[in-house]
Structure formats: structure tokens, C-alpha cells
Assembly symmetry: C2
DNA sequence: GGGTATATTAAACGATCGTTTAAATAGTGC
DNA sequence: GCACTATTTAAACGATCGTTTAATATACCC
């Protein structure tokens, strides 16, 4: 029988990176549901199934864990976006918007982390976040808008700067406000939502199509 | 000369309601900038210029102060909206949207309080908030949308339920994301913004405009 | 002008927070 | 098998949190 001492020590060995990853994942979920101060290191460690001192051991302090979490969760998403952009896969709004909406829907922690970073006075790393995330998504949106505008695929009464803000608002808010949207508006935010919502957004930005019949592509 | 003792007691009398109001105002500003757990009772009391025990004396506990603050800050805005609605002043989207945007712009604490209530897992009083605020604004928006739709003032490819969500997203997000919008998109959120933004929103929802122009304001 | 309820204060309380520490175990190189 | 290092643990630390308390100065009533 294996003797388990109750005092300090090191009973079993896990892969150290496994502990690190468990902490990152737990922190990601916890910080998405609560504010930076509202989530305790003890909660995160318990959710990760590791001793709370591991936070300081691997990340220095709570802030270090938060920063590493942001880098290792949002970072890959940004990288994937930029690769897709480099391959020209998201040059058109018809491709970029559904992709962006699907990403927000597939990673439930993402919209909340974003909005907490964005919230005035709340973020611990807003500068970093704006540089590494918001400005790059904004740039991608802006490029797609400019491209669509040049090709006449966008309505002409749209200020391109406002266009970026419109797309940001429409893609992020519904996922952040999910409980309110579902309960006060009766709109279920389910698997099908991202697709239908993207279509609605694109329709809004499309040039007036139906009534007259003198259009030249 | 007035003798000021340093021990406990009651040095000077203020109007009790003045203390109460100071706490409400301080709580409103503090809770707009930080999360419920992120803001301390000591900070609020210091910002209000009163002893921290006054929070418990007047409101029972921190939660009571937060709840009273919500009631006494958002409550009047809702009441004013409903009165305007009863007088038929906001039946049309052209009236409701600029009014709503102006309210959000004129009360800098409002957008952040709203988004914190809306944030999943963050709110302390989401049920109350949804009942008393979100559902009423949503209803007003919905009525205006239905009215505009009946009169053909809205594009016909707009799902009315999505319409409400579109308006919610577009009116709240820019004010909440102010620092990001200004720095990552270069759009200043100043006094003129609410008006120009409202126009842009209304343009998006308007039906494809007729080719000739037969209207001049 | 004296008595009483109300408002205010500084201090203290217990709980929880993030972090540190000292001990102890498991792996690694020899 | 043995030293050595990395990893994990329970416990403790000081700080801060929300709240309570005891004391007391003020306003009000008669």
C-alpha cells in the first residue's frame, strides 16, 4: 500500500507542463466569469486541481497568470487569423464576418475576456490587449471593408471608420450579453445563431439591392 | 474656536440625506469603473467624504448600497423613458435612437453599469436589472421597430427580433468600449458622436432609398 | 435646559485575500 | 546507492476586506 503523508512534500509527480496548462485553462474560465479581483487564486487552483502555491511557482503572481493566460488563449486565435489573412481567405466580409462570429461562439470564454479588457477602468492589461488583439481585428475588418467598398459590395452611405465600429459592436455584444439576449429578447444563442447572425450583419452592410433593376456588377 | 475631538462622536451635523446621496453618487462612479468585488467600501466612503460605517448604517451592507444605487440612478432614467413613451414621443426610431444614444453619452457611468449587469457571471442583481431595465428598453425598441416596419420605414429583410439586438449592440457597445474605440479605431467619443452615430444607425435600418431625391429638410 | 433618539466616529473583529516559507518527495545524473 | 535539483505540499504571514461595536457629539422635543 502506498503511504500518503499528510505533511508537506511531493506525493505524486505530474508532467509539470500539465499543471501549467491546467492552471491556464482554469484561469481562462474563471477570469471569463469573474473580474480580476473577483476571482481568487484559491478558486483557480482548486478548479485546476493543483495546490494554490503552484500559481506563484509557475507564474510569479496572480497577474503573471492572467497575462500568460491572455497570451496563450487569445494569442493563437490572433495568429490563426493573421495566417488566414495572409492566405487571402478573409479578404471579403462574407468570409471574415462568419469566421469571426464562429470563433466567438466556439470559445465561450472569449467574448467575456474581450469585454473585460475593453471595459474602462477594469482591465489590468488593456494596452497589451489593444495592441495584440483589438487593433489587429480592427485592421482586418477595416481592410475587408475598404476592399468591399472599392468593389461596390458595400452600401455607399457607410463611413468606413464607423463600419469597423459597427462590426465590432454587432459581433461581440450578442455573445457577451447572452443571458440578457436570451431572457429579455427571447433569442437563443445556440449553435445556429452565429450563422444566422452573420447573414443579418452582411445584409445590413450590403448595398440596396431589391427595388430598381438597373444594376451593373 | 470650535473644539474638534479626535475620538468617536458626532462632530458636525450634515443633512443625513446629503450623506446618503453622496454615497449613492460615489458608489455609482466607483461601480462603473470597477467590479462589485473590485471596489471597496472604504474607497466609496472616502470618495463620498464620509465614514465607511455610514454604508452599513444607511444601506445595511455593500450589496444594499449597490442595489439602492441601481434603483436611484437607472430607475429615474427608465421612468423618464416610459413617460416619454406614454406621450408618444419615442414611437418612431428616428426619435428613440438619438434619445437613447444621448442618454448613454450624457451619463458616463451608465454604459459601464449596464454592461457589468449584463456580463455573464458578474452581476449581483441581474434578474432585477433585466426586469427593470433591459426588458423595458428592449420593449420600447421592439415597439418602435414594429411601428416603423408597418409603415414601411424599415428595410424588409430585417428580422424584428434581430432588430432589437442590433440596436442594443450598436447603442451600448461604442460607449462601453470607449478607450478601445478611440485608440484602436481613431474614433473620438465626444459630444458630437452620439448624434452622428445615431444617424448612421438609422441609415442602416432604413429601406433602400429611392434613386431620386424629393425630400429636403 | 435636560432627556432622548439619531448620526457619526475610531477602533476592532473575523474572514479572506495573495504570497511566502520550510519541509518533503520524486526524478536525474553519476 | 547517493547527492542534487525540481516540484509539490500544508501552514503561516501580513494586508485588506466587509461589518460590528462602543463611545459620543449633535439635534430635537418638552
Amino acid at each position: 500500500m502506498i503511504k500518503t503523508t499528510t505533511g508537506p512534500g511531493r506525493p505524486r509527480r505530474k508532467d509539470p507542463d500539465e499543471v501549467r496548462q491546467a492552471l491556464i485553462a482554469a484561469a481562462r474560465d474563471q477570469f471569463a466569469q469573474g473580474s480580476f479581483k473577483g476571482v481568487s487564486v484559491r478558486e483557480i487552483a482548486r478548479a485546476a486541481g493543483v495546490n494554490q502555491a503552484m500559481v506563484n511557482y509557475y507564474f510569479g503572481d496572480k497577474r503573471g497568470l492572467y497575462e500568460a493566460m491572455l497570451q496563450e488563449t487569445i494569442g493563437p486565435l490572433i495568429r490563426t487569423l493573421e495566417e488566414a489573412e495572409a492566405r487571402g481567405e478573409v479578404a471579403r466580409l462574407e468570409d471574415l464576418i462568419p469566421r469571426h462570429a464562429a470563433t466567438l461562439a466556439a470559445n465561450p470564454w472569449l467574448p467575456n475576456l474581450i469585454i473585460r479588457e475593453v471595459l474602462y477602468g477594469e482591465s489590468e492589461f488593456r494596452n497589451l490587449f489593444i495592441e495584440k488583439f483589438a487593433s489587429r481585428v480592427a485592421a482586418a475588418l477595416r481592410r475587408a471593408i475598404d476592399g468591399g467598398r472599392d468593389k461596390g459590395e458595400l452600401r455607399d452611405d457607410l463611413d468606413p471608420r464607423f463600419g469597423t465600429l459597427i462590426l465590432f459592436s454587432l459581433t461581440i455584444y450578442p455573445f457577451v450579453a447572452r443571458p440578457v439576449v436570451e431572457r429579455a429578447m427571447g433569442i437563443p444563442i445556440d449553435d445556429a445563431f452565429a450563422g444566422r447572425w452573420s447573414e443579418q450583419i452582411l445584409q445590413l452592410l450590403a448595398p440596396p439591392k431589391p427595388p430598381p433593376e438597373d444594376e451593373d456588377p
